[in-house]
């Protein structure tokens, strides 16, 4: 589905590359999480996958980004929209301002794609229901809370049913219940084979619970890539500025103090469930 090969990008007016020699392959139907400290290049990678680098953000580019059969840097943005969805960090600015109600805001992308009206209604209502906004369809998008606006931005993209959905920190304003609901839904979409998802996320527990894979970016380079638990519980993460979860820290302390004697050599936990299982082992 995604093939990034030898990809480097330096924003115009800057000297330091935001991404350096990135190689990444994501097969169809995978939920791939990109983690890393602030300034690691996560957002740039998201923009590159969705085509906004280099079509919107200009700069010096090397290497290739392919999504499906399209070479992204050579494909105009309007041709990518609808096939590759992008949800970025600031939910307020993802409200287009083109429509006056939440339902219409979700419908806006479908109207631009030329979807028939009856289908627009079905798809928009379904996206609102899935994101927990089903009862707010008549509200002004500007009257929503930050978390609701974030869910609206996600609903707007889900309704467009892109083959690849790229989400840059989609849960930054969501509460734990909202975060879990979103991850569950993304996981269902991916499992059904209808979508491939790449997302950046700081909440490592959720990545470990739902993602098929965790890719770690630091200073514009991929420094780790693999099964989320293995990657995220690795001691190397702290040196990169990625704080392990409380469960990983607790398990590490338990091993060090002899409270989990069988723990040595076993992968440390990242989630509560993994920690319970890890510390129960005797």
């Amino acid at each position: 589905m995604i093939e990034v090969h030898g990809f480097s990008f330096t924003y115009a007016g800057t000297a330091t590359p935001a991404l350096r020699d990135v190689d990444l392959k994501v097969p169809k139907g995978q939920l791939c999480a990109i983690v890393g400290p602030n300034g690691a290049g996560k957002s740039t990678l998201c923009y590159a996958l969705a085509g906004f680098v280099p079509h919107f953000f200009r700069g010096e580019l090397k290497g290739q980004v392919r999504v499906g059969d399209r070479n992204v840097p050579d494909t105009p943005l309007p041709e990518l929209s609808g096939e590759i969805g992008l949800v970025f960090q600031n939910p307020f600015n993802q409200i287009t301002g083109a429509r006056f109600t939440v339902l219409e805001e979700v419908a806006f992308g479908l109207e631009n794609l030329g979807v028939p009206r009856a289908e627009i209604l079905d798809r928009a209502n379904e996206a609102l229901r899935l994101t927990g906004l089903g009862s707010l369809g008549d509200r002004s998008p500007y009257a929503l809370s930050g978390g609701q606006q974030q869910r609206l931005a996600i609903a707007s993209m889900l309704a467009m049913r892109p083959r690849l959905l790229v989400l840059d920190e989609p849960t930054s304003q969501l509460d734990p219940a909202g975060t879990e609901a979103l991850f569950t839904h993304l996981s269902d979409l991916v499992s059904s084979g209808s979508m491939t998802v790449v997302l950046t996320e700081h909440k490592l527990e959720w990545v470990a619970t739902f993602a098929h894979r965790a890719v770690v970016l630091a200073a514009g380079q991929i420094v780790a890539d693999g099964e989320p638990r293995e990657v995220l519980a690795s001691p190397a993460m702290e040196a990169l500025g990625i704080r392990p979860t409380y469960y990983t820290q607790a398990a590490r302390a338990a091993v060090a103090s002899g409270l989990a004697p069988d723990g040595r050599g076993r992968p440390l936990p990242v989630t509560l469930e993994q920690a319970a299982e890890f510390l129960r082992w005797r």
Binding site: L77, P78, F88, F92, G97
Partner: protein, 254 residues
Amino acid sequence: MTATLYLPGASGVHRLNPLTKLTLALVAVVAGATLETLTVTVAVFVFGLVPLAVWGRILRPFLRICVRVVWPFAISLFPIQGFFAQGTTVLFTLGPFSLKAEGLWIATLLTARLLVGLGAATLLMLTTRPDVLMHSLVRHGLPAQVSYIVVASLQIIPGFQARAQAILDAQRSRGLETEGNLLRRLRALVPLVSPLILGSLMDLEERAIALEARAFTRRGPKTSLTEIRDPAWERALRWLLLLIMAGLIVVRLT
């Protein structure tokens, strides 16, 4: 949350096609500008716009807005026209200035014209969602980008004001004095302007990304969730109104 005057409703005027209402408003504006007698101009307001406002169940807000906007103009029109317009019927003299009946008559006519033009626009705005109006115009050839600028501005202006207030509050909490004499107030604007403009430019960039992601610039046929009724009788009425408008202009010019 939006800078619009629209009052939701289910009246006959609300249900009219937005283009019909726009044409009605244009005819009223042209009538106000071309009719030469005060009686006919006032009649357009009283027997044209007021009954429409009653039909739209918005008479009270309609009259309130008309009065609120017209009176500041009126109180400046009357002394200016009264004292400085050409005329021979002097009502009284104040030093070198004399108040003339002809000037007051011109001021009354101009106020009536303003009332008709403003009333027509108010009627349109109170009963028509701006996005639906713009959507109708896009269907008739207006570029979608122009429609977007109008509709988005109406929604983004309140956000812009809120941002300005938040910046001002943040600066005040850091000790900036924003009250006092004019000089002090002007000085307080300096730390407000820079974050407001820079922040707004960054907002614009992100909003452009959001629009691209929603296929806004995609070519090809587009559809709409909003259904806009346009029965044959309304189309005929629009043509009739346009003919009346053309007739008024021709009569005025000849």
